[in-house]
Each structure stands twice: as C-alpha cells, then as structure tokens.
C-alpha cells in the first residue's frame, strides 16, 4: 500500500461554550480522539447524525480550525502543532473544500467566471487570457457550457450551482477535497448527476475525497471506505462492502436498519429509542451505551477504543 495522503492520529477538538449569562464556560468535545488514514485516489465516507462531529473533522483536516490535541499529517507535512501555519502553507494548494449549500457558498454579486477564478486570483500569476482559458476549461470539466461564465449564480438551479462550486474547487488542481454534504441540499434527480461527476473527476485527476454525509445510501454510492461517527467518537471503520454487509457496531447496525428503503414489502424493525447524548462534558463510558440493545456494565464506565478485528475493519465496542 502506498503512503496515505491523510493521516489523522488521536485527533480531538474541544469548543468552549457559555451556558446562560455569566455562567462558567463548559467544554464541548466535538471530536473525541479519532484516528484514520486516507489512501491516494480513494474516498473515505464519513457518516453520522447531527452533532456526531463529522463536519468538525472535515474542517480540522483542511486547517479551517485548529485542533485541540492530536496530529494531522497531509502529504507528509504535519499540519498540527507549533509549525501549523507554515506547514499548512506548504500543502494549501493541494486542499479544497466543497460545501453543502451551493447558494450560500457563491457570492451572488460575482459573475460565475469570477467565482471560479477567485482561487487563481488569490494564488496570483495568471494572465487575463490564461485565466479565461482556465475558467472555460473548468466549466467544461464539470459539464457546463463556457457561456455561463458571464452569468450570475442566481440564474442556476441547485445542481448547476454545485457544479460551479466544484469547478472552483478544481481551479488550483487540488489532490484532496473535503466534500461536506455536497448533495444533501439537492433533489434526487440532481444528486445522482453530482455523485457521478465526483466519481468521474476522481478517475480523471486521481483525486482523494473525504466525503461527509448523513445519508448512508449516498455514501455507499461514492466511498471506498466508510467511517461512522457518533457523539464525537469514531465507532466503526471498514471497507465499504464490509461495513454495509457485515456491520459490527450496534450503532452502525441500528443506523442501517433505520433508513427507509424504497421497497414497500420491507418491514423495518421498530425504531431505536432515545436520542444522541449531549457532548457537553461527555460521560466516561461508551457514548452509545444509553441506547444500545447490547449494553453491559462495563460500557457505562470504560470507553471502548477502536480495535482492528480483521483486515481493515476497526470497531470501538466492548462486544468485540
């Protein structure tokens, strides 16, 4: 196996939140001691419900927010710790981010061509003609006609705007893109188009993705490996086929069971009770203990750490 382009070790992110007026600040542990690798040319799907820490993980990876503890290594450069700024500068052009809301992430007053060329303008060194040529090339890459460069974002549908967002992300030829819920704001008929586009771009440019989503079916359609987060912790990580056909963690099993299938003959098991626990001052044991059908005494006091049970399959559960 080649050297991973992303290495995350024991990554933790705390936020300070104030509760009420003048009250003491509380600690919110959004990401709790997680580790994973991403191999070049592959996609890690990161799934979880709201508050699981999946978006925070994505933001940590591209340096949008600093880590509290742990280590992130991108293309061999460690971008956490005291040399953070300099290390990030070395790899910055190889990283990009695609956001969920293609409307909110495009400036409504800028023409589409200028939106796409903004990274080029910031990087500098592009002549007018080269810049125009590059914009045309990028539009073609994402399946839009050249002429749209002269138009404004509001003239486009959600799916087309997401194509524009992707064109902008590709401007500086990144190698690694964090896609945070890139299709969840889109209609079903648009989702498939964007997923297929991301797959095509990966093939063409050898891109690696961290693909963050709450929709397990969407993740199955694009990921190579899948990691499941719950209340800040990484509970299971496996190659895609293994995760979907033989999930081990009780939370992954419940999550897969709960998804409504487009099949009226399927009878779903009764829903899992309870709700995601607060990540303010998390309890000592397993975060899923309160909802787990297999809970044991040990789960309430001792936090299970991920254990590799077989090739490439890690699960954080005292059952294994």
């Amino acid at each position: 196996m080649s050297e991973p382009i992303v290495k995350v070790r024991d990554l933790t992110k705390d936020f300070q939140v104030t509760r009420g007026r003048g009250g003491p600040p509380a600690l919110l542990r959004a990401v709790n001691n997680i580790s994973f690798d991403i191999q070049p040319g592959t996609t890690l799907g990161l799934v979880g419900e709201s508050g699981s820490g999946k978006s925070t993980t994505g933001r940590l990876l591209v340096g949008l927010i600093p880590a509290t503890q742990g280590e992130i290594t991108l293309f061999g450069s460690t971008v956490t710790g005291k040399d953070r700024a300099a290390a990030l500068d070395r790899v910055r052009t190889k990283l990009q981010f695609v956001f969920q809301d293609p409307h909110g992430s495009l400036n409504p007053r800028m023409r589409v061509g200028d939106c796409i060329a903004e990274p080029l303008d910031i990087a500098g060194g592009w002549s007018r003609a080269d810049r125009m040529g590059r914009v045309a090339e990028l539009l073609e890459t994402v399946g839009l006609p050249r002429a749209v460069a002269e138009r404004f974002p509001h003239e486009f549908s959600g799916g087309q705007r997401q194509r524009i967002g992707i064109a902008r992300a590709l401007a500086l030829q990144p190698e690694f893109i964090v896609c945070d819920e890139p299709v969840s704001a889109l209609d079903v008929s648009m989702q498939a188009q964007i997923i297929n586009l991301l797959l095509d771009l990966q093939e063409k440019f050898g891109l690696s993705y961290l693909f963050i989503a709450h929709d397990l079916a969407v993740v199955r359609s694009i990921a190579t490996e899948v990691a499941v987060m719950y209340a800040g912790a990484l509970v299971e990580h496996a190659p895609k086929r293994v995760l979907y056909t033989a999930p081990k963690h009780p939370y992954t099993q419940a999550l897969l069971e709960a998804v409504p299938r487009p099949d009226p003959d399927r009878k779903r098991a009764p829903a899992l009770g309870g709700e995601v626990p607060s990540i303010l001052n998390p309890p000592p044991g397993c975060a899923f203990a309160a909802r787990c059908p297999h809970v044991m005494d040990r789960c309430r006091v001792e936090r299970p750490m991920p254990r590799v049970t077989e090739e490439g399959h890690a699960v954080a559960c005292h059952l294994y």
């Binding site: 498939a192 297929n196 709960a258 409504p260 299938r261 487009p262 709700e275």
Partner: protein, 337 residues
C-alpha cells in the same frame, strides 16, 4: 377515475394555484385532483417545484393572499367547498378537523410560550376548555406522542427540546382536537435517520389509534414506501402518476417515476454509476409545450411535445400521464387476455 369504494373524506377537484413572481405569473399547481378515503394514508411525492406542498397548503388555505391568485377548482370536505368557505368557518376546520404538521418544528413553535400554552391554544380555541383543563389535556397528549416525563416537560419552552421532541410536540398540537385529516409536510426531513424512524412509527401508530386519514408529503421514496398505501407522484405542478404503493414500486407507469426510482442511491447493493436523469427541473415560470417532462424523457415522441398529455386510467386505482406508456400497457393487457 380511481375512486375509492367509499365516498372520499376529502376530495380535490381540478385545483389550480398561481403565484405572482418577478417574472410574471407561475402555475404552481396545475389541475390537480385527488381523493383521500377515511383512515387512508396517501403519499404525495415530488422534487422541488413539483407543487406537492402548495397542494397541501391549499387545503387549509394557508397561502399569502397578496401573491396568490384565487385558486380555481374545488376542495370538498364534509359536503362543503373549502375554497369558498367563509373565513370564520374555515378557522373552525383548520386545526380542528384538518390539522397540519410542517418540516421544521423549531420555526413552527413559538419560542416564548410553554409547551402547555401551545398545545392548550388549539384546545381552548376549538373546544373552549379552561386553562387548567387544557394543561391536563396537554400532559395526556404528550404521553400519547411518547414524550418521557410529560408532566415536567409540559411547562418547558421549545428551546429545551431536541428536534425529535419538538416534532412530537407539533404532532401533539396537531392531534389535540382529534382531526379527521392530518397533513404532514416533510415531517421527518429535518430529523436524523434514527429519529425519523421513531417519528414514522409514531405517526403510523397514531393513525391507527385515532383512525385519522394522513396525507404525507415528501421527496423521499423510502418514506413513501414505508408509510403510504396509495401514492401520487407530482412533477412541475402536475400529477404524473397515481397508484397503490406496491404497484408503483413494482411497475412504475411514468418515465419520471422510472427515472426517480433508478436515480436513488442504493443502500443494499453496490451499483457503480447511478443512472441519473439528465437535465434539470424546469424553471416554474418556463412555458413547456406538451408534456412537462418531455425535455428530460428518454422515450419522448413527437406527440409528447405537440399536446399536453391527459392523466389516463391504467389499471385498478391507477392513472398515468403518459399516453405512449398507457397505450403499451393496454396493448399488453389485450394480448394477455
């Protein structure tokens, strides 16, 4: 027409709703008809701009008057046309006999009133009960929607509750007056998947316990498959297909339904590239001659662009707005007979 055996509880005939926009008038709902039987679960499925929510809002006349042209058609409930009912009588029906829940439980709840006040409001308004009785009834309703520790929760404010709990409160408010019809507009879309399953279980149980008819509006074919008995598929303001749920998923009769079902990412198999529907959902103000799906349809014929297709009967309780497909079906049935 696919009429249920008993007289329908609620019937929409030829409803058309138009809105004023910056680019002129747009037709959000275009000659839509539907029936809901007593105790039935009807699903309306469609993407953005399909007109599914506007159809639902029209039943309760909840549109902004300033931008809506008076809807045409009829909405018959209890022998009366809701579209022409005096405002006072409409208020008695709204929240009393026909209730509605919405996608976002946070913006539908008033942040400065307690749960008790908000559930009590509809009881005091429709049934004239006093405040103490309303609070007692509110606790019973919270227990009915399975909120733990109801006697304590009833005096709390919405921000203290999670998204799932807020949606349960919305459901409690909606069923407070024992409505005959519950309209649920994307009731689980804003919720996490494990919470969505809880709310769908709850809605189904309540429907059976209270004998309500439910109109469930969603973009999610999975939710439709789980909840609805009969399904109406909408595209760009028109009904394209109506069918019993099992028939719809087994053998869709409209190319749009085909496309939608194939484009859904699959949870239980690996499929490689998904067969996407080409093109985009049409701009609502755009004028498309003939069938509104024709620019994206893989089996488009010359006649599809020439004239607007009618909704044609295609088997028991089935209709489809695709003359070529319905003709194929009729020919196959004839040769089998």
């Amino acid at each position: 027409m696919s009429t249920p055996l008993a007289a329908p509880l609620l019937e929409i005939e030829d409803l058309t709703v138009r809105f004023r926009t910056d680019n002129g008038w747009m037709t959000a709902v275009d000659h839509v008809s539907l029936q809901v039987g007593e105790g039935e679960a009807l699903g309306i499925v469609g993407e953005s701009g399909s007109g599914k929510s506007v159809t639902a809002l029209s039943i309760l006349r909840l549109h902004a008057a300033a931008t809506t042209r008076l809807p045409t058609g009829r909405i018959i409930y209890g022998g009366r046309d809701l579209l022409t009912l005096p405002a006072r009588q409409m208020r008695a029906i709204r929240g009393g006999e026909i209730a509605m829940i919405f996608q976002d439980p946070m913006s539908s709840l008033n942040p400065v009133l307690t749960i008790s006040d908000q559930i009590g409001e509809s009881l005091r308004l429709h049934q004239g009960v006093d405040k103490a009785t309303a609070r007692k009834r509110a606790i019973e309703l919270l227990e009915l929607v399975r909120i733990p520790d109801a006697a304590r929760r009833v005096d709390e404010y919405p921000h203290r509750l999670s998204g799932g709990m807020r949606q349960r409160v919305m459901i409690a408010i909606a069923i407070a007056c024992r409505p005959k019809v519950l309209i649920a507009d994307e009731p689980t879309t804003a919720l996490d998947v494990t919470i969505q399953a809880q709310i769908l279980d709850l809605l189904r149980d309540l429907q059976q316990e209270l004998g309500m008819s439910v109109i469930l509006i969603t973009h999610d074919m999975g939710v439709i498959a789980e909840f609805a008995r009969r399904v109406m598929v909408m595209y760009a303001g028109r009904v394209v297909e109506t069918a019993p749920v099992s028939a719809l998923f087994r053998a869709p009769m409209h190319p749009y339904t085909d496309g939608l079902l194939s484009a859904i990412p699959k949870l239980d198999v690996d499929v490689g590239r998904l067969p996407a529907i080409p093109g985009s959902i049409p701009d609502p103000t755009a004028v498309i001659p003939g069938c509104r799906y024709s620019p994206r349809c893989p089996m488009v014929q010359e006649s599809c662009v020439r004239e607007a297709p009618a909704l044609l009967p295609a088997g028991p309780e089935r209709e489809a707005r695709c003359p070529p497909r319905v003709a194929q079906w009729a020919a196959a049935r004839e040769s089998a007979a």
